[in-house]
């Protein structure tokens, strides 16, 4: 009973999947025409270099960190939250320097800021037409683990603070 069900499900999946790939294939010739006007996040160069990946994955685009030559957001160094109990860590700024350096080693992408204004208008229209293409971040596992470790350190510090408050209250 289960085998015919699985077989029919597999046939349905096989029948449906090529349609998605066909849509990707039909769009990829169109993409280069508008690629010159598209902003960075449509990944013109990404498409040229990793076209098979895009074809396989359908309508997926990659966000890259832009403005790599500029100072990253310094919000952590100017944190002024009155209820934050964690001091801005020097390690956070070190991490971002490493992150920026690592991303600068990646193939550069043309940011094309003058074209971005009109390109983004087209991008928004294109997004609406193509039912919201998935956006993802091109981050390495190394950087992901780094931010995860920072988050865990923050969690432990917050837990320690809560425990300290609890002991103070109980001690009254």
């Amino acid at each position: 009973m289960k085998i015919p069900l699985l077989v029919s499900t597999g046939i349905l999946l096989v029948a449906l999947l090529p349609c998605q790939e066909c849509r990707a294939l039909s769009k990829s010739p169109i993409a280069p025409h508008g690629a010159l006007h598209q902003p960075d996040f449509f990944q013109q160069q990404q498409q040229q270099q990793t076209l098979p990946v895009l074809l396989r994955m359908g309508e997926e685009y990659f966000l890259r960190l832009g403005n790599l030559n500029k100072r990253p957001v310094g919000s952590f160094s100017a944190s002024s939250s009155s209820t934050s109990h964690l001091q801005p860590e020097a390690s956070a700024s070190n991490f971002f320097r490493e992150a920026v350096q690592e991303l600068q080693q990646l193939p550069e992408r043309s940011l094309g800021s003058p074209e971005e204004g009109e390109g983004e208008g087209e991008a928004v229209e294109r997004e609406k037409r193509s039912e919201e293409p998935p956006i993802s971040l091109d981050l390495t596992f190394h950087l992901l683990r780094e931010v995860l470790e920072m988050a865990r350190a923050e969690q432990l510090a917050q837990q320690a603070h809560s425990n300290r408050k609890l002991m103070e209250i109980i001690g009254k």
Binding site: I3, F41, R64, T83, E131, P134, D138, F141, L148, A151
Partner: protein
């Protein structure tokens, strides 16, 4: 005696619920182990929780594993930013928009994704998640006035945002809720122990560790049906209903990993 009969009925109901595995809620809500604050009096709890909402500002690329209120304010155009959320395996992430000041017409966006997506690879994979990929994105610019509170289906979620105008930004409150039967989990740590229970549900689940690890599986129970073990197949896992597959790879999507081992027989002890 009506009271004795009621007591017996209640006892039978509790026993049936326990045998069906539906009492996991009690495990999650173990006050002594996880929430010592529950043992305090109401006055003490009120004093402790007063002004205790954790707040800080967000970075362009950030990861959060605690509850609180988080604000991002752009001091320069920030075009490619994301914040990852991760909780304990038994948590669900809820994101509430407290304040959003972005220019949707000017190309800004703020999207919540149900899961993690990295280099185009999603966790949970499309095969394991109940929603199609397009529906896993909730765009504030499309539905912000309608849906201001978004919950994840597992212990991870993330937001993508792009803000052109310095000074614009947003504030979100992150909360965690209990997930009685976690199905798709990303482990926060490279070491630990986790038991995945999936009662009465025909679904694909996954447990992801984004570190190089050694995995030991102990006490695998498969194919329980009304308390009876299904007949063990003689050869391999082909054609078997339930199985556990160990996968390896350097991406986030389990459906794109390569299989290392298949387990389709129940056993006790360490494998």
């Amino acid at each position: 005696m009506p009271s004795a009969f009621q007591f017996q009925c209640h006892f039978i109901l509790i026993f049936l619920a326990a045998s069906k595995g539906e009492t996991r809620y009690l495990e999650v809500r173990d006050a002594v182990e996880d929430e010592p604050f529950l043992l305090l009096s109401e006055d003490l709890k009120r004093e402790l929780s007063a002004g205790q909402i954790y707040r800080r500002s967000l970075r362009c690329i950030d990861m959060l594993s605690i509850e609180g209120q988080f604000t991002f304010t752009a001091d320069q155009p920030q075009l490619h930013c994301a914040t990852f959320f991760i909780g304990e395996p038994e948590d669900l992430i809820t994101i509430d928009y407290d304040f959003v000041n972005i220019d949707c017409q000017g190309g800004d966006f703020l999207k919540v994704f149900d899961g993690w997506i990295l280099k185009g690879e999603k966790f949970p994979s499309s095969l394991d998640h109940p929603l199609p990929t397009s529906q896993r994105y909730v765009d504030f610019c499309d539905s912000g006035n309608i849906q201001r509170s978004i919950s994840s289906s597992q212990n991870v979620a993330m937001i993508f945002f792009r803000i052109h105008q310095p000074g614009n930004g947003f504030t979100v409150t992150v909360k965690k809720n209990a997930n009685l039967f976690p199905c798709n989990v990303i482990s926060q740590t490279p070491s630990g122990r986790f038991t995945m229970v999936s009662p009465h549900q025909h679904r694909n689940c996954s447990f992801s560790i984004i570190y190089p690890v050694v995995i030991k599986i102990s006490d695998l129970i498969l194919g329980h049906l009304n308390g009876l073990l299904l007949k063990k197949p003689s050869v391999g896992c082909a054609g078997v209903g339930d199985f556990v597959e160990l996968l390896g790879g350097n991406g986030l999507d389990p459906s794109k990993m390569f299989p290392l081992a298949d387990l389709c027989h129940s056993f006790h002890g360490v494998s």
